[in-house]
């Protein structure tokens, strides 16, 4: 069995999973209007962590998350040769160094936490988080490591904002995933972390089970999703078949739901093809914005909190059905026993990834 636990979330909603859960259960969002930050001096909605500015903020955010995680585990494993840290990120410390976006951070984290191995960085656009959690699970399954700490982190930057503005992909209001009036993403920054291990005893609080998933490419377009959702269908299909999981066993889907017209439509088509349209579903990006390399880890950590607290969280930003295939969007928070959840992600480069989390 592959265990996952000790989840951490650092976002505008708080510095740990509990604080973030509290905010989510009150449907508070981390998205706010930031004046004059756009390329043309526009005010833009972003999800930014107050006080997180200046040099080394990427490294600091990772350090903060890893410290928080280490307080929830048997810390002796940190320096073990059987432990490795994986970092999921798209642009790392780009603002600190264009040419070394990750190296210095990995070296600093290794020193600070006395890790036996240099962290490995996985950079696969927006699927990085889910992909990295799968890599962690696979490494433990294969016996390559006993414990793998996954940290997903990205910080806000002009570079990324201007880029998405050039694609006309930035929403002029807080993003509204799956909504009929949606018109783009809201960028966010944050850090999620979790420990994946073959050993239950290293967790201070009971872990959950990670059902490692798969990834699949759309083979269609480098920055637009497949109109048929081919890659997502293949990834989720393979993930479910791997464990013989029937659709009836999935209690909830945490979708990617970025708020763009094309992504959300693609997901609706994919879930329809997979016969999962009736599953309670949300996107968490209405709370955190799109945190890119951190998204898969932050959002999986929220899923874990949903299982722990037995509650479905409303899909923030959604008002009216806006996809050609119906979805069962969660409209209000609802206490519910959740046994197994499906998390999906899709991203630039045509990537799609999925995983499942199950209560023990």
């Amino acid at each position: 069995m592959i265990y996952i636990g000790a989840e951490v979330i650092v976002s505008p909603l708080g510095d740990n999973a509990e604080a973030n859960w509290q905010a989510l259960s009150e449907n508070r969002t981390g998205i706010a209007l930031v004046p004059r930050i756009g390329f043309g001096g526009e005010d833009i909605y972003l999800s930014k962590i107050p006080g997180l500015n200046g040099p080394l903020r990427f490294q600091q955010l990772i350090g903060k998350a890893l410290s928080a995680l280490s307080r929830q585990i048997d810390t002796s494993i940190l320096s073990s040769g059987k432990t490795i840290v994986l970092i999921s990120s798209t642009k790392g410390a780009l603002d600190d160094s264009l040419h070394d976006q990750f190296g210095e951070t990995c070296a600093a984290i290794m020193r600070q936490f006395k890790l036996a191995h240099l962290p490995i960085v996985i950079s696969n656009a927006c699927i990085s988080g889910v992909l990295t959690l799968n890599v962690a699970g696979n490494m433990v399954q294969a016996g390559q490591y006993e414990h793998v700490i996954v940290i997903g982190c990205d910080v806000a930057s002009d570079f990324v904002l201007y880029g998405f503005q050039s694609l006309f992909a930035v929403s002029d209001k807080p993003c509204a995933p799956f909504d009929a009036a949606r018109n783009g993403i809201t960028l966010g920054e944050g850090c999620g972390a979790a420990l994946i291990s073959s050993s239950k005893s290293v967790f201070q609080n009971a872990p959950l089970e990670l059902l490692t998933g798969t990834s699949a490419n759309d083979a269609n377009h480098i920055s637009g999703p497949s109109r048929t959702g081919e890659g997502l269908v293949r990834s989720v299909g393979r993930t479910m078949r791997k464990y013989g999981t029937g659709t009836e066993e999935i209690d909830f889907i945490c979708a990617h739901g970025t708020g763009t017209v094309f992504n959300d439509e693609m997901e609706a088509i994919a879930f329809d093809r997979l016969s999962l349209s009736d599953k309670p579903l949300n996107s968490l990006k209405g709370y955190f914005g799109h945190t890119l390399g951190a998204a898969g880890v932050i959002e999986t950590a929220v899923c874990m909190q949903m299982i722990r607290n037995g509650m479905l969280i409303k899909s923030e930003g959604y008002r009216n059905a806006g996809t050609s295939r119906p979805l069962n969007i969660i409209l209000e928070n609802e206490p519910k026993m959740l046994r197994a959840i499906l998390k999906t992600a899709s991203g630039f480069g045509g990537g799609n990834a999925s995983l499942m989390i199950r209560d023990l």
Binding site: D100, F102, G103, L118, Q141, A142, A216
Partner: protein
């Protein structure tokens, strides 16, 4: 056993496939080195011109490997070939060029922005081949055979039947590209650390 069935080394001045030189850079030409290879090899894929340097390098090397191993696409189902790539500088060179488009009074270029992620090259390779398999891009301090061996082992045990692996380090000042194909065969150059290191350093004056 797992065997390296084809490989391509793309350097600053020469390009080798399975140890043999297939192209040498014409220093006098106005065309970039990658464009020279593209034209010379008559690949006929105009989307090449829109790609950034990382994607161009990966695309070229993968096409050359396919020519050396023409049965690849027929041998495997469309989701059985996994793409496992890594480099040290992520998409830094393209990032730099994207920043240039908006820093000196211009506007940010959408066609450059979409390449400011290192994994886009995997998308380009998947698109041209219609491969729906697993993808991975890691950023590592230097070429590390262990990464490909460990992760490759995981993929081959979970549905992938072949690997197209790459080290794609392309910066303004250097080109260090090494792609290789891993397949299950009776015999051949074994997929192991020593052979990877050896082949990654192949040049026209022989490997050492």
């Amino acid at each position: 056993m797992k065997v390296i069935t084809a490989y391509c080394n793309l350097r600053a001045d020469e390009c080798l496939v399975n140890g043999d030189v297939v192209a040498r850079r014409d220093a006098g030409s106005e065309d970039s080195w990658f464009k020279q290879i593209y034209r010379q090899q008559e690949l006929g894929y105009p989307k090449f011109y829109k790609m950034d340097v990382l994607s161009q390098a990966g695309y070229l090397a993968s096409e050359l490997i396919k020519r050396a191993d023409p049965d690849i696409s027929a041998t495997y189902a469309d989701d059985e070939i996994a793409l496992v790539f890594a480099n040290a500088s992520s998409s830094a060179e393209t990032d730099r060029r994207f920043m240039q488009t908006y820093e000196a009074g211009g506007s940010p270029s959408p066609s450059l922005f979409v390449y400011t992620l290192p994994n886009i090259v995997l998308g380009e390779i998947a698109i041209v081949n219609k491969w729906y398999g697993e993808n991975m891009f890691a950023v590592l301090p230097k070429f590390a055979p262990g990464f490909y061996l460990d992760y490759g082992q995981i993929l081959l045990a979970s549905g992938s039947r072949a690997l197209l692996c790459g080290w794609l380090e392309v910066t303004a000042n250097s080109t260090d590209v090494f792609l290789f194909m891993v397949e299950e065969r009776e015999s051949g150059t074994e997929f192991n650390s020593e052979n990877l290191l050896h082949l990654s350093q192949a040049t026209s004056v022989g490997t050492f």
